[in-house]
Symmetry: C2
Subunit: 320 residues, 2 copies
């Protein structure tokens, strides 16, 4: 479906005034890979950037959705409005779990200050993170104080989703020493705050100490050397530690405001990644459009095997 320009203006105004149905409709379009949304997304981007974007990720079963539910409660008590974008990985195996996750947030379903939306992106190669960025552009052009983006941290695609967030919470379940090693090798470099959920678990304190020593030893690979990622213990079911967690999130935003060179570096990094994602999608379209004339002349030496695809690709990347 194409969105005509009179609609564009209407849509823009609807979103600015916080119209949830418009947002939901647009996110459905993004999910379906509807074309013609780019002019709208461009306008929204240029007029957006209102709310804080917080990311929350971690392995399946870490309690991210319960924690999200409790975070919403704390923020609502502070008078803040919250939009949640839950990104479902493109796996048929997680369908049930995701449904259950959404149910955990149902207590906020009737609160007009809360918007909860899950988004799946099946069949779009590498398109999950790009689609998440588009959806965030919509939500961030609305008057939400906080936009929370949640995803299961299992692979590169999910790490890429988290790259859209300004502050990232990495939720861990209590576990043994070797598991921490495995987690370290993964996405710890993008975690601004470590959360050990299920605080009543016998291994909880052990995990907290492991993470703390990892941070202290400089092993967490956090790109901001002026920030030591805190380790927070929570119990999402009871809400224990969640208020403390929101304080740490605030502290991180204050830290970024006081260190504009760090904030700007991170912001540029996010934009660079975003541009790269959109560029990859455009490149994909070119590759799949049965040529359409793209590279027609440039590939002749490769056809003759006087050049090769690696040399041509290297030449092309230098043009960017």
């Amino acid at each position: 479906m194409q969105i005509a320009s009179p609609d564009l203006d209407l849509t823009l105004r609807a979103l600015s005034s916080g119209d949830i149905r418009t947002a939901a409709r647009l996110i459905t379009f993004i999910e379906r890979g509807t074309t013609g949304l780019t002019p709208l997304l461009q306008t929204l981007y240029r007029n957006g950037g209102r709310g804080r974007i917080v990311g929350i990720t971690g392995p399946p079963g870490a309690g991210k959705s319960s924690l999200t539910n409790k975070l919403i409660s704390v923020w609502r008590k502070q008078g803040l409005t919250v939009a949640v974008l839950a990104i479902d990985p493109s796996s048929p195996f997680t369908g049930g779990a995701v449904l259950g996750d959404r149910l955990r947030m149902m207590e906020h379903a009737c609160d007009p200050g809360v918007f909860i939306r899950s988004m799946a992106s099946r069949g779009q190669l590498g398109g999950l993170a790009k689609a998440a960025g588009d959806a965030l552009t919509i939500l961030n052009a609305m008057p939400w104080d906080i936009v929370l983006i949640e995803t299961v941290g299992v692979g590169q695609n999910e790490t890429d989703v988290m790259r859209h967030a300004e502050v990232v919470l990495l939720v861990q379940t209590p576990m043994g020493g070797d598991d921490i090693q495995a987690a370290k090798a993964g996405i710890t470099e993008i975690g601004d705050i470590f959360v050990v959920n299920k605080a009543d678990h016998p291994q909880a304190d052990h995990t907290v100490r492991q993470l703390e020593s990892m941070v202290a030893l400089g092993n967490c690979l956090h790109p901001d050397r002026t920030w030591l990622p805190p380790v927070v213990k929570t119990q999402a079911n009871s809400g224990e530690g969640v208020k403390v967690l929101t304080n740490h999130i605030d502290r991180r935003f204050v830290h970024l405001a006081r260190n504009p060179e760090v904030a700007e570096k991170q912001s540029r990094e996010r934009i660079r990644h975003r541009v790269g994602e959109i560029l990859q999608q455009l490149l994909n379209q070119r590759m799949r459009s049965n040529g359409g004339g793209w590279l027609d002349e440039a590939i002749e030496p490769v056809v003759a095997r006087k050049s090769d695809p690696y040399a041509l690709a290297a030449t092309l990347i230098e043009r960017l």
Copy 2:
């Protein structure tokens, strides 16, 4: 591991003379994402292109590996040497099935005229098809008459793997009418020959007729309008129909030789896709290298929200 240039020459000669151990070692490097292979791959590409590349794909359980096994037998009787590259999708769920598949080809394990290698590519975002292309570059610089690339046809990644092949066999299991519809929506546009395996199944003839009428009605989306994809019924366990299948493969290669404009169009399409894949990997590296100066100036208007990531990406793609 870096490959130094004296090694490069040795490696080149080893592959030209058909040294299997060198090929196996290099494919392991590709699997692991080893850097520094590009100069070698470039030289191999420019000196390669010897064997025919045949692709075989289809849903899990269609009997692709049994069929491959029997195809090898027929080709070996004709005096042809065969290399098989079996691409494993990056899923932990298929591990067992893949192992079983490989076992089905074990009867050729001691034949020096046959090389069977499986390749997995876990954790490389969109890298499976690129890695397959690299491995094919190695095998195609060796004196194999036929290089067979096999993958499970379940998604975009696997379709992309098949784009490296000159002739693609699409293996189907006997099924009801609705399933054919589902298959149609998928990757039928890349199938040059349709194979209905498990010919003794009660639904086999029904499926053959369905596919034949799909082809006759022009619904198979095959890009070469001078070719009507044949539908071949096989029974991989007994070998029934496999000789007929190899005849159809030969017929397709003869057709391409007689219609050089079609062959060249397809060859250019393969190269274009290949360049795009390598370019995507290079782009990915740029996105992940924490900037490294890439786009430093270009993103300033986006930072100021006077421009947006969509506009910048659109500008960049035009440079390619």
